[in-house]
Amino acid sequence: MYRSTTASLAAGLVALALQSSPVRAEPVTLTFWTIDKPDQAQQSYVLAHEFETKNPDIRIAVKHVDFADISNDAIRAVATGSGPDLVSIDNPEVALFASHGAFVDLTPMIKASKIIDPARFFPGPLASVTWKGGIYALPRGSNTLALYLNDDAFRRAKLDPARPPATWAELRADAAKLTDPAANRYGLAFSAIADEEGTFQFLPWIQSAGGDWNKVNGAAGVSALTFWQGLIDDKLASRDTLVRAQTDSFQTFVAGNAAMAISGPWELSGPIAGARFAWSTALLPVAGPGAPHASALGEHTFGILHTSAHPAAAFRFLEYVYSQEGRDWNEFGMLPSIRNADPKNPAHPKAYATFIEEMRYARVRGPSPAWPSISKAIQSAYQGALTHQATPQQALDAGQSAIDSAREEASP
């Protein structure tokens, strides 16, 4: 009885499969590694699910990989040929993957695409996915830095939060007025930690002064590092700035132990809610009157590994991600990477206005396939000077020679 039921059921299923096979192609399953976590309704999972509903011929198997491991894991997967179709990679590492031929060059597919228009990208995000004229990944969204102000502390110090510091000199003067050791409060919180976050925070200072990642030991780099050194030496920022990640530093701002903070939009989806004071945001101060604005560009990008058997299907998912950039701010805690993708009712509208303006000045780190080594050289330079083991000039000279040799090694 049981056996015959099973047999007839199986026969029925086979018949059904045979019937439906000419109508619909075998569904393609894409594997997708992301740093998002499944339990928090984060972007990768939300968009993958929506995409599957709209495209029944494509399934996406999303897998969470820790932020710290994803590059390593993806590189090893490329080496062993066992990689996913789609992978999320931090934007300064796109050049590493592109230069090794690990990412599919998306340029031809983008040219043929009716959805993606590269001209709409802000310059920073576009540069971050471009390598030798080709586009090798697409930003999943962006983030950048701005200055957060404790408005109440400003007023108590007889400062007007509506007139935030616009230059380094004003920043320093305001920080001095806001610093109050008796109340355990510093003027400014930022991060000079010896990892990628510190490089991310340091580069806008060099860039506003006229230097950049590939030229750190000129006058621009020295003035930027000397300025940082002064903030810490004069106790306008905590010495623990050297070991605090950005979120740790921002916590001291939320707790009222720092009157200003430099951090990104990620603080708005959670941490800022703990602030028991009025706060506002402002553009990062520039080196001096008339100096250019500069800010950092962060966020992961989605690329297609060259080992993928379904690059066309994977690209359709990238098109969908691009088409949903307008939801980045309100739903996913990121900024859109493209112009005019503003949400209708942005959360924290004033902060959004600051950050979206800052996006125009957000610059890519690199691009260089040797970015991890270059970044390490920059970190050693600012940490060496901030701990007074070297003068800013000496520290940056050593950094420059490490940067030069890393770039030389990377370009055979």
Binding site: A79, T80, H100, N184, I193, A194, D240, T241, T252, P372
Partner: protein, 306 residues
């Protein structure tokens, strides 16, 4: 002894043993080759090659001789990190063994709750290094850390030392946290050694009029020699592989002030993808560890003979 040796000569040689016996021996040997010997050989090979992370599977890579080692020694941070590693290992092991020994002797005395309190001490040891690092990071925080609060409340300090961001204090801070982490393990191993010393030795010594210090120096220390050698060797090996505590506390900073060889090796291999240099450093550490391990093995062998 001599009788046993003679009877051993009568046994069939290795090649004449049954297939079953050979298989029994082959299983662990194959296992060791697969999980230990091959990775070590692979690391040694990578240390003399130019390794690109993207073709990590291929063994056909450009041979560069000792270039990775030379680059390593020419790195401006090398001297500092070597000294840090020496200080980190020596201070950690000496303090862990001394404090662990003192606690082991203390808990050897019979008093109410001795066993329970000794168990509570183990709580430190079962905690993951990353968690320990995160907690000590809060405690060592310069502005609001509990360490500074206690020191200030007891009038010991007036300024706030920045334990983790002052280059003179970062390494001592990491060492303090590592000592705390390692003491329970040392205490337990040494307690086992102490428990194995026959009680009647102490009773006889007491009858001969020996005081507690004399008993400790003349009975406890000599009887514990092999155990202490083992604990010190294991302590050196464990300290040389202490990675997660440093990752959680300082990431080797500020400016490499608390960086040690094992963390640097990881940074080279997995942060900047200079796998050749990372492997070279790993090989150097392997040499040190092998030396320590051989001392450990010879000390335990002597114990068996004794």
């Amino acid at each position: 002894m001599s009788a046993r040796r003679r009877s051993g000569q009568d046994r069939p040689g290795f090649l004449h043993r049954s297939g079953f016996e050979t298989a029994l021996l082959a299983a662990p040997v194959l296992f060791l080759v697969a999980v230990s010997a091959l990775p070590v050989l692979y690391t040694i090979a990578m240390s003399v090659q130019s390794v690109d992370m993207f073709d990590i599977l291929s063994l056909h890579r450009p041979f560069v001789g000792l270039r990775n080692y030379i680059h390593l020694f020419h790195n401006p941070a090398a001297g500092r990190i070597a000294l840090n590693t020496l200080l980190f290992t020596t201070c950690s092991v000496v303090a862990q063994v001394t404090i662990g020994f003192a606690l082991a002797v203390f808990f050897q005395r019979r008093f109410p709750g001795a066993a329970t309190i000794r168990g509570v001490f183990l709580a430190a040891w079962i905690m993951p290094g990353l968690v320990v690092g995160a907690i000590w990071k809060w405690m060592f925080a310069g502005d609001s850390g509990v360490v500074n609060a206690i020191l200030a409340a007891s009038g010991l300090i007036h300024a706030h030392p920045f334990w983790l961001s002052d280059p003179h204090l970062a390494l001592p801070a990491v060492i303090i946290a590592n000592i705390w982490l390692g003491v329970p393990f040392n205490m337990i191993l040494l307690s086992v050694g102490l428990a194995a010393i026959p009680r009647d030795l102490y009773e006889a010594a007491a009858m001969d009029g020996a005081g507690s210090i004399r008993s400790f120096v003349s009975i406890t220390l000599p009887m514990m020699r092999a155990t202490i050698a083992a604990v010190v060797s294991l302590g050196i090996i464990f300290t040389l592989q202490q990675y997660d505590l440093i990752s959680g506390l300082t990431e080797g900073g500020p400016a490499n002030a608390s960086n040690v060889a094992q963390y640097w090796s990881w940074q080279l291999s997995f942060q900047t993808y200079q796998i050749g240099q990372g492997s070279a450093l790993a090989v150097l550490m392997l040499a040190v560890t092998a030396l320590v391990a051989s001392i450990y093995v010879s000390s335990t062998r002597r114990e068996v003979v004794a």
